[in-house]
Amino acid sequence: MTDNHLISEIQSTDNIIEHFNQFRQWEDRYRFIMKIGKNLQAMPVNTQNESNEVSGCESKVWLTHTKHDNQLTFFATSDSRIVKGLLWIILTPINHMDNAEIAQFDFDTYFEQLNLIKHLSPSRGAGLLAITQKIKQICQQ
């Protein structure tokens, strides 16, 4: 069981990787993913719509962003609990980075360190890729 207090402290990629690596069983990994998804920040009003849907995912995924003083903040959600958890894992570290850092951020290595892709179905993996590509694209605009 993951303690909510603890979760609020997991913010950086290192935190997340460290936390992930303590799981010995697939059940714990999934429990963490499915619970942590509840901590996703709510999407801004009226943004969970078709124009923000990311195509190429097995379940529905919506992704949007805001810009304050040129700093991007990403919001996302899904109708799948597992995907919500994965979105939390993707967004949490980057929402603590500045734009340049996001643009540079190596998602592949990050996922590798989490040992994530290996444990997901390939279509989920492809979905994750679609999301990170969309994020990179937004950063380049």
Binding site: S59, D79, R81, I82, S121
Partner: protein, 403 residues
């Protein structure tokens, strides 16, 4: 509940299930596992007998041709057809249906015609007809079976004297509903319409007798009935055999060729251009022989009991919504309240349970049920055990621990 010994004996023929004792394989409607006798037949074929068929002038090739045609005869007999030339080899159910749609397209359909399908069809028995109708600018009518109560009334409403063909699945792959095909075929005959039955989900679980059914076309895939991939069958009723133009062109389907003109061969060769999937035909012959040695009645009875057992157990769980009928053919389609089907299958997969989730190549069925994310589909076979069922139920009950 304990699995009867004869089922365990049957299961022992399937090496993958023996090699993966922890696997619960409930994806049989997608494709079934294969008995060792089929693998032995393939090995033996390539190691001792291999050559091409027909056009032969050496013994290897003529022996293979003999085996190949014996296999056709056996498969034909297995579905109640005593004229082997009525059985055309194709790639699968999908090609069988496309073949029929192609030869109909090139025959004479008047512009006032319509084509009738049911609202329970797999895309393979829907899109070819839809596209044919669009091309010929004729009407595609979907018999609305009224929440899938499998009533003949829906067909009676749809079929009329302008109906060219009625295409209907024997058993629906998304929900396991058995359609009233005997009555559908009779109805089609009454209006002089052709009838095509998609038996992809039926042949493995029901005794099919095309002669008694009296349909014009019956189609199915070998890989869904313990046979090899890459092989399907198209039964064409003898009376209809000379009526239609050819399908594809090449070797074997011609008699004489010059640059101005080609004379085509007779059935079945007319519809079998090119070197066929000889290996698969030999392998399927071995599977049919294997099935004939089984007590099929007992196997089918067991399949029904196991399906009923799982159905009742799922029905008792308030968080489950069932979309299959109680007399479903080996298929149980359901959803879990507040769960995305893909999340369910991902967790089940980690528990070594293989099910299918989604729209099951039947998007309109799911649209009608307003299930955008589709369902979770269990599909059973005679080698599934009560232990499989219990593992599955325990897994379903454990899901709430994850959230």
């Amino acid at each position: 509940m304990k699995t009867p010994a004869h089922i365990l004996d049957f299961k022992a023929h399937f090496p993958l299930l023996i090699n993966k004792p922890d696997l619960v394989y409930f994806d049989n409607a997608a494709t079934t596992q294969k008995p060792q006798v089929m693998l032995d037949a393939i090995q033996h074929f390539y190691q001792y007998d291999y050559a091409t068929v027909h056009r032969s002038t050496h013994t290897l090739s003529s022996d293979v041709t003999h085996q190949y045609e014996e296999s056709r005869k056996n498969v034909a007999q297995y579905i109640g057809c005593d004229q082997p030339s009525s059985l055309i080899w194709t790639k699968g159910t999908t090609e069988s249906i496309n073949l029929v749609a192609t030869i109909l397209q090139d025959s004479t359909i008047s512009s006032s015609s319509n084509i009738v399908i049911s609202d329970l069809e797999h895309h393979a028995n829907l899109v070819p007809w839809q596209q044919l109708c669009q091309k010929l600018n004729i009407e595609l009518r979907v018999a609305n079976t009224q929440q899938f109560q499998h009533k003949i009334d829906a067909f009676i409403e749809a079929v009329d004297q302008d109906t060219y063909i009625v295409a209907c699945s024997h058993v629906s792959n998304a929900l396991g509903i058995t359609q009233p095909i005997k009555d559908v075929i009779k109805l089609a005959k009454k209006y002089n319409a052709l009838s095509l039955i998609d038996g992809a989900q039926a042949v493995c679980h029901l005794n099919v007798d095309v002669n008694a059914l009296d349909c014009d076309f019956y189609v199915f895939s070998a890989h869904k009935m313990y046979g090899p991939t890459g092989l399907g069958c198209l039964y064409i009723k003898p009376e209809q055999q000379s009526r239609f133009p050819p399908y594809q062109f090449g070797g074997e389907m011609v008699k004489t060729v010059n640059y101005n003109n080609t004379v085509f061969n007779d059935l079945p060769h007319k519809y079998e251009a090119g070197t066929p999937n000889i290996e698969a035909v030999i392998a399927f012959g071995a599977v049919i022989q294997f099935l004939q040695q089984q007590n099929l009645t007992l196997l089918q009875q067991y399949e029904s009991e196991l399906t009923r057992y799982l159905y009742q157990a799922l029905k008792q769980r308030s968080f489950i919504s069932l979309y299959s009928p109680i007399d479903s053919q080996n298929i149980i389609s359901f959803t879990l309240a507040d769960w995305h089907p893909h999340d369910v299958s991902e967790l089940l997969n980690n528990m070594n349970i293989a099910v299918r989730v989604g729209t099951h190549c039947a998007q309109p069925v799911m649209q009608q049920l307003q299930l955008t994310n589709g369902t979770i589909r269990l599909s059973l076979c005679a080698y599934n055990t009560y232990e499989d069922a219990q593992l599955f139920l325990r897994a379903i009950d454990s899901l709430e621990d994850f959230i």
